[in-house]
Amino acid sequence: MASAILPLSSPSRPLRNDLKANWKRGTSNRTFLRKDYTKAKQSFTRTRMTLAVEVSRFNDITMAPPDPILGVSEAFKADTHEMKLNLGVGAYRTEDLQPYVLNVVKKAEKLMLERGENKEYLPIEGLAAFNKATAELLFGANNAVILQQRVATAQGLSGTGSLRLAAALIERYFPGSKVLISSPTWGNHKNIFNDARVPWSEYRYYDPKTVGLDFDGMISDIKAAPDGSFVLLHGCAHNPTGIDPTPGQWEKIADVIQEKKHIPFFDVAYQGFASGSLDADASSVRLFAARGMELLIAQSYSKNLGLYAERIGAINVVCSSSDVAERVKSQLKRLARPMYSNPPVHGARIVANVVGNSDLFDEWKEEMQMMAGRIKNVRKKLYDSLSAKDSSGKDWSFVLKQIGMFSFTGLNKAQSENMTNKWHVYMTKDGRISLAGLSSAKCEYLADAIIDSYHNVS
């Protein structure tokens, strides 16, 4: 794909000046471009003169596939039906289906504005006050791993960025080791491990028959993997299914992971947002930490503090000693530096301010309970509507058992498409709905749609 080389010698210079005289004066960014005649071209309204051939290096690049989730929102926007419902959205909405900026965030930003802090680079590992706060939130300030300084924490670009840092660490220090991910899981997990060149395979998770957890399948697949694999676990509010293991099941999962010398790798994107309690939502992570295991945990403040756009999260690596933690942290920095040098300060300061101020912290807990509460309410209302309207006797209680923003309805692709085409309910084709996008007012309508799609479409 090398560009053709013209014999450019000085005679071409007067030519260029001639050509230039025919164009408008002023700072000109005229480009001179000759296309390869074998390619189909767009027609131009102006003649383009050639000085030299410039065929793009990136000529053969095709359009990337549209993002499955973004596509949902776009289609929703284009729909004019009055009952339309956007249940693809992965962001919290109020009962009026509006985005919600938390009060504590507004207050923290106001404080920051008044203080007029500077905008200097953060250290590569991020804002120290944030790192301290985030690890303490996750483990509890008096947890042994914190007191023993065994946690390497680095601020990351929300959950995605933190996962990516961890993946890069795995690739560098455990080349060839696999990550086991649940089937299904958040779509971007695979992209992250692919781009980080970390091999992955799936463990069974979702059981369509029960619309619940395939626990035996999960344990079996974790056992079957090579020793020393990394097991990606959702700390709470599994995305996309909403199905979490029970505390008893978590114990068994920890057992088999220890047996196989696997490394647990938690994605904690909903701490506080799932049950409404920060501590309850961290119990799976704390269970593993209490066993003295080394583990990786990615955190995000996108949902629980509504800081979606500010990209604030952290990667934590619990190590066997503080010395190892120091070294691991230094290597996390070395991976971050050629990615973005140092992380963005704004979101980190907001978190540090909210957590560091006891009034704001209490208010935050209330707001979180409010958000989690609204979701629980619509779950209940949806369940009630489904049970009342569906005369088939189908057990819809899985709606209540699931937790967090998302729910796997058990609808298949064709049924999900019916939801959209007939009922103007926008959701992803895997049957996932976002309860964050559901208002109580629309629960009955949604129930009708689900019942129709489930029974009348195959």
Binding site: A2, S3, I5, L8, T27, S28, N29, R30, F32, L33, Q42, L51, A52, S56, R57, F58, N59, D60, I61, T62, M63, A64, A91, P99, V101, K106, L113, G116, K119, E120, Y121, L122, A144, Q148, L157, T160, G161, R164, N191, D195, A290, G292, E294, G306, A309, E310, R311, S321, V324, E326, V328, S330, Q331, L335, P338, M339, Y340, S341, N342, P344
Partner: protein, 427 residues
Amino acid sequence: MAQLVRVGLLGRVSMSGVLGAARSMSTGWWRHVEPAPKDPILGVTEAFLADPSPNKVNVGVGAYRDDNGKPVVLECVREAERRIAGNLNMEYLPMGGSVKMVEETLKLAYGENSDLIKDKRIAAVQALSGTGACRLFADFQKRFSPDSQIYIPVPTWANHHNIWRDAHVPQRTFHYYHPESRGLDFASMMDDIKNAPNGSFFLLHACAHNPTGVDPTEEQWKEISYQFKVKGHFAFFDMAYQGFASGDPERDAKSIRIFLEDGHLIGCAQSYAKNMGLYGQRVGCLSVVCEDEKQAVAVKSQLQQLARPMYSNPPLHGALVVSTILGDPDLKNLWLKEVKGMADRIIGMRTALRENLEKLGSPLSWDHITKQIGMFCYSGMTPEQVDRLTEEFHIYMTRNGRISMAGVTTGNVAYLANAIHEVTKSG
């Protein structure tokens, strides 16, 4: 000792915890992880902070300081933040970032009336400052030109090497800095450009080369561009200092404009860290010039595909500040004034440092101090001389002799000149 006590506490809490600890600690997954080498620049600042001397000077710092040596938040930035305060939208930006911010940013690099912009031929996404833009491009280069290498000038910003290395793109170097003249080794640079295989990828600093401060002249840029055409090379510009170098953003983009006039389809990384003082906000932009709109749409979609598994979408706050400032004529004018103010202060300090050295009767030539441009000055001092500056005079800089002019003030320039004279006067 304390360590043992704490482990004991853990044991008392839960038996299974102790057993678990024993089992896991015997395997210790991360023991083979070595400590990473210390960052050469961070180490300088740490040592500076630890020094109790009242005369200490930090000229290692890579961030602008005012004449009192204090960090600066621009007035236009403060005003923009006041305006966006209480912003009721924290929703995810699109993967490509803030459309408004990117539009304004392209105008800066490509010109207000750029046809490329009008014809929608530029694939552009918001990036995590200059680093993020370079990294996205390096990953893009790896994915879509998998057999290509990157030619990097000697010397360059150290992180350039890390970026292309972590993107798995092999690196070559080309001559750039001429130590004897403390200027550009133009002849060798042109040789390297001619000798590189046709269609090679080159990393160029658009203005205010980091770390040397040595930029090609306009005539030299034209020759470089011409030779690039002959060879069919790809030019990737890292523009981290637009406006900050000469004080005039249009002038600082001249190298890029020359290449665009010659029809090159360039790539460009832009950063607002220095010129808008938004260091910690991580705001920048990556752009790739394409043959037509259709291709630009395809390339942008692929850039987004690369960004998605790195951070999903870029941070909002800094982008809002930039688009608020650039989208408002009064704020934009204020910004232009402030950027010129910063550049002027640096240029003033260059003059002062040079004059002081000359007044002291230095046997060496110091005109490279004023010939070089931007934040940094490659002084030509040896590591040993730099060590003496630190040990005897408490002056902190990187051992390659790079002085950050941002750390020079009217208060310390005489002291600095005197110290430099002392360690270099014997030749």
